[in-house]
Symmetry: C2
Subunit: 520 residues, 2 copies
Amino acid sequence: MSEVAVSSRRRGGRQARQALRAAPLAEDKRAIQPGLESGNYKVLNDLQIKRIHTAVLDVLENIGLADAIPSCIDVVTAAGGVLKDNGRLTFPRALVEDMLVKVNRNVVLHGQDPKHDMDLSGSKIYFGTAGAAVHMVDAQTGDYRESTTQDLYDIGRMVDKLDNIHFFQRSVVCRDLADPFDMDFNTCYAAISGTTKHVGSSWVEPSHIEKSLEMLHMIAGGEDKWRERPFVSMSNCFVVPPLKFAEDACKCLEVAVRGGMPVLLLSAGQAGATSPASLAGSVVQEVAEVLAGLVYVNAIQPGAPAVFGTWPFVSDLRTGAMSGGSGEQALLVAACAQMGRFYDLPTGVPSGMCDSKIPDYQAGAEKGYNHAVTGNSGTNLVYESAGMHASLLGMCMESLVLDNDTIGSVLRTVRGIDVNEDTLSIEAIRQVCEEGPGHYLGSDQTLSVMETEYFYPETSDRSSPNEWEEKERPTSLSKATSIVRETMNNHFPRHISDEMDQQIRAKYDIKLPRDLMTAK
Amino acid sequence: MSEVAVSSRRRGGRQARQALRAAPLAEDKRAIQPGLESGNYKVLNDLQIKRIHTAVLDVLENIGLADAIPSCIDVVTAAGGVLKDNGRLTFPRALVEDMLVKVNRNVVLHGQDPKHDMDLSGSKIYFGTAGAAVHMVDAQTGDYRESTTQDLYDIGRMVDKLDNIHFFQRSVVCRDLADPFDMDFNTCYAAISGTTKHVGSSWVEPSHIEKSLEMLHMIAGGEDKWRERPFVSMSNCFVVPPLKFAEDACKCLEVAVRGGMPVLLLSAGQAGATSPASLAGSVVQEVAEVLAGLVYVNAIQPGAPAVFGTWPFVSDLRTGAMSGGSGEQALLVAACAQMGRFYDLPTGVPSGMCDSKIPDYQAGAEKGYNHAVTGNSGTNLVYESAGMHASLLGMCMESLVLDNDTIGSVLRTVRGIDVNEDTLSIEAIRQVCEEGPGHYLGSDQTLSVMETEYFYPETSDRSSPNEWEEKERPTSLSKATSIVRETMNNHFPRHISDEMDQQIRAKYDIKLPRDLMTAK
């Protein structure tokens, strides 16, 4: 029994609980943490998984993918792929099965700070951002405006401070940058400057990623150091659903693989538009496309770090509009994640792409049920999980903070329930009922588990209606607004030294003004 | 291929889709419906379930419950229970196991209209209201005011119109009625007048339930008709956690059991206050308490219809305040539901008791992740699932409508994914890729599954930022507000005939003015 617990009986429970809260708990003792084992929600049974797997092999062997670039055809046919008369590159069952044996299952996505490294083995789960939103959303007014390079940097700084957002993938397009090279290069620069967490980004041309790798080598302290701990991954849409390779993306993919950069093999079919409206069929096409990408990557370089990036999107079939917040979205993602676990692949799926334009009830509900389902599906990475609105068209700073709390609560469900002699509490129950005060307030057990078994969201208001009235009706949004303001005014990460930053600026055309990267 | 589908190819997809939407689909073909099989989320593994079960038996056999009333002691000790020297009534393992053999597993909760009957066998799931909120929440202003008899009737009318709220349990206290008999009797009257769905209510004294049964016999057309299809159940807090019987509630329970009224055996321990703070311990105490109630009910009358009502609540341990919206809440409920399935009992748990005072982001998120976890847990009944705020202190009409949509989306996840030759879509994929237009818009399959595989929420806005701007920024709340207004102005169920209503009013003191029960 701890001293705090003993003294609490003398001093009264509430004061002791407050004292206990003041002392920070070791991170590995907290109720939630990065890399919890996920997988208690299983939308597919074993037979369904096998039927989907068989259909996937059928599609890959008999239909294959169109529009493969010559270098892709070369490496894949050398590995056993077949170019058909109709020009489609097909993947015989044996080729796919061989690849599934040799694929890299121990991928680590590194942070610039090693404390943010993400081990993707097993079903360890991490939440992060992603996307290519073209708008920033004003949470108070609902106004949409074009997103900029500074927004991207600011989002990075905000993510850097939020415990339950474990990585930062580029989430908005820098619309102030017209030139494609400027945009790709500065996107990477702004993202890695904003946070020490792992960064994902994307590039539209091979030369852009080559130049960016030069900068990453400088920051890492040399190419060998970069290759030891690559802290940026490439989000790569190598496929245009249904079942067509994307030429430029494939060229970039090859540069990344050879440059030691992990790749997110992303297929984003939209059910009812670019993939079958039938949910099972949509899963089949997604899985087939991403497995084709995995064969391709492993044909270039066996064991290259890659993420099984099944991103099945949903259409509202009445209008054709994307519906990222629907229940069908949650189901599709959970099924794809389960297929990823069936193959035991580093798996990444999207969740939380709400349809609502603002952080209101609809946004909360859509994010809540999608995250709960996806978070428990067994995926390793959850992309798009914070800040997004309007089915990925808008990004909102306050929503990053709100979603950080929703993710925290969902991670608490992922963690599950510890069942052991102590937690079963028979003796505690006996004492309270037969000897004790008839309640558990301030008991030793209550004090000892208040941090280890419970997660406390920062923005949720749990006060009674009367207390709420007295506090002038705070909402989760008003609390999030304060946290954003405080962070934007004060948090400017300095992990890239001023000297290094000057070297980068001397060599490349950095568009983010240096004076925006310090407190006023 | 249907005629609609054929003609769509000529007329263009969008028009055909709109035509298809106009024709209502048979209810059993829709993507979601009452009584879907639940259970894809399993927070406990088999070993954990067995350890909890063993601990429960230990608690029942060795600690038991205090404060049993004489009639309870009589029937339970006659069945094999033991009254210990310390006055606690204990339940030996053999007694509990015998009860678990003979308990009624085929309970049906009837509606006044048989189309609303709920078959609780297996893991069929239904969502409904519940609670004893003392406030109505104004969704626009956030103002809280005292709830009245008319509010209860209005909530019933609203529930009557919402497809995904399958039953109506009393959700607010009629604070305009000071006399306890008036309150109990008129609560029952207002609830059954507002909806043809199954009604749950509660009573504080045996004489109140006896009088109410008289009224229910009248409406049913005699006691025998009532006993054939009892359309009202009793929500009964027979236990005051930890492990004490509640005298008055037990007396009411006995009247209900003998009167053929199904009972919800409700234990509502609050972790860290009236049950152990350790989640596993809280589950142990909950399950032990409700199994004690089941022994009691079956000792009165073997096979009496009863619901395993484990309602574990959560405290925010920093303040002691209840936190119905937390992730811990979802976990506790899911674990209790899984114990209910382990025993194969008609099981009812709460979900959606959000902490937020208004229907905002926090409310949506808390309801979203709680419903997703609870909805997939395998429970039969989900109580408190719509309209509640401030951890059950407030009820909001607009939230009923919003939550109806959230429940719909969650039910879509419960339904899961159909995997068969058709849905796997290999031929559809082949056609589109090798022959077809390269997309699935307007394809036969897309048209055929748009109602059977997809759920369309009424209040969610899925438009793009531009469309949203043009429509003057509608929110899910503004849509819900319109639906509430329309329903309140126009929906006055007439399943209880005017003649019967006059007879009831002649015999009993009905407080709800008749002129409030018709359109103006």
